[in-house]
């Protein structure tokens, strides 16, 4: 629940620390890069569709990475795609978050063994904040992943830098 | 110094000169067109300034209006011509292309 909700329910006097306010704003308005990769993307679409409604959490897809805050890697990342994903991620303005959705982007999933063209985990090119397991994860699971991410953001501090340039843990 | 006719005339003269300068120095047809627009604007300032400070009633403004209409017609035609020219001689500018991108 958002910070302000708590204040309402607990009837406190609103002494919102700016940090809390900012974190609250960030976590309740996570705009997502409108972008899907594979089967998981279909579940991601289902999550934004009527039954699960991503919009309830303030998540709306923005077509351009320049205006988005979170990128959901929803599906198998191949080598051909990994480079593009990295670039897309780079092109998002800070602060930015990554949700890795599904086995494939977690570690290559069903393709980890023989997948000669599958990147074994998107965390080899970009830093991942939350790993959502499942193949595909149920929409609820994705929502839960999002809640986890919100939890993480809530505990973030403005003072300490969130993340600077990331070098893939490849070499 | 109170702003009177002279000021407007000076502004218009300067604008006019800039327009002339643009026409003379630029080879690009569209730039020339821009210069012409500057000149027309300068003349309009004159028209209106005289209509404000002179005793011609609103004729100056009316003329300014006509000038604007003419300018529009001229711009349309001129651009059509430019387009046409470029369509016919697509490669006419090839030698001066490239570099200097900032």
């Amino acid at each position: 629940m958002g910070l302000l909700d708590q204040e309402f329910t607990e009837g406190n006097i609103v002494i919102a620390k700016t940090e809390d306010l900012f974190n609250w704003a960030r976590l309740s308005s996570l705009w997502q890069v409108g972008f899907g990769l594979a089967c998981c993307a279909i579940e991601m679409m289902a999550t934004s569709a009527s039954h699960y409604d991503f919009d309830r959490f303030g998540v709306i897809p923005r077509p351009s990475p320049r205006q988005s805050d979170v990128i959901i890697i929803s599906g198998t990342v191949t080598f051909k795609m990994a480079i593009r994903i990295k670039r897309l991620y780079e092109q998002m303005p800070d602060p930015k978050y990554v949700i890795s959705m599904g086995s494939c982007s977690n570690c290559g999933g069903p393709y980890w063994e023989h997948g000669y063209h599958v990147l074994k985990g998107v965390d080899r090119v970009i830093p991942v904040d939350v790993y959502v397991p499942g193949c595909p994860p149920r929409p609820e699971a994705l929502l839960e992943g999002l809640l986890k991410l919100q939890e993480k953001i809530r505990n973030e501090s403005i003072v300490k830098p969130i993340r600077s340039g990331f070098v893939g843990k490849t070499a | 110094m109170e702003v009177t006719l002279t000021h407007f005339l000076i502004v218009s003269t300067l604008l006019f000169s800039l327009g002339i300068y643009g026409i003379v120095t630029r080879k690009n047809a569209i730039m020339v067109l821009m210069g012409i627009e500057l000149i027309l604007n300068a003349s309009n300032i004159n028209f209106i300034a005289f209509s404000r400070f002179g005793n011609f009633g609103l004729q100056g403004q009316l003329f300014a209006l006509f000038v604007i209409v003419l300018a529009a017609a001229e711009a349309a035609i001129a651009l059509a011509i430019v387009l046409n020219v470029y369509k016919t001689f697509v490669n006419v500018n090839v030698d001066e292309i490239d570099e200097l991108r900032d």
């Binding site: 080598f79 051909k80 480079i83 000669y116 063209h117 990147l119 074994k120 080899r124 893939g168 490849t170 | -």
Partner: protein, 176 residues
């Protein structure tokens, strides 16, 4: 409707030695084995002949027969020398409703087959895929590039049985 046998005879009559054999011994599906360098002519005949009219290419697949000699290198990885790569063509006639399977084999060291894109445009990408996956070169193909793998993939043809994964691709680790 024509059976494979009839078509085989008809082809044999016309193309002679380019038509190698009709295989019916393996269960399930019979196929005609033909010469890889004549395939375009044969296919165009199959496509145009009035009582054949094979107007559609259902499938074209490259296959690694893995029938050469297998050698193990010091790391225990297999390499295959010799033998053949094959291409299977599954064609059908939507008008006469008959189907046919063609097979052509080409040596592994220099796999060359003539392209059939002139006959069925749909063969284009199938052939590119076969090239991408097996390295079978389709002569006369308009645009033979890799299709599924990155264009700069220089580590061989992944569906060959003796394919080895590279360690890195553009700085990304390939194995798990």
């Amino acid at each position: 409707m024509k059976t494979a046998e009839e078509i085989f005879n008809q082809l044999k009559e016309k193309f002679g030695s380019s038509i190698i054999e009709l295989r019916t011994d393996k269960p399930v599906e019979s196929f005609i084995v033909i010469n890889p360098l004549e395939i375009d002519k044969i296919c165009s005949f199959l496509h145009d002949e009035n009582d054949l009219l094979f107007d559609s290419l259902m499938n074209l697949s490259g296959v690694d027969d893995a029938n050469g000699t297998k050698e193990k290198d010091e790391k225990g990885l297999e390499t295959i020398k010799g033998g053949t790569l094959s291409v299977y063509y599954h064609i059908e006639s939507t008008k006469l409703k008959h189907k046919l399977t063609l097979k052509t084999s080409t040596p592994r060291e220099k796999p060359e087959v003539v392209s059939v894109t002139e006959v069925w445009k749909g063969a284009d990408w199938h052939e590119r895929e076969a090239y991408d996956m097996y390295g079978i070169v389709f002569l006369n193909h308009p645009d033979l590039r890799r299709i599924l793998m990155p264009y700069d993939w220089e580590f061989g043809y992944p569906l060959r049985k003796d394919y080895k994964n590279p360690e890195f691709y553009q700085g990304m680790k390939v194995p798990y």
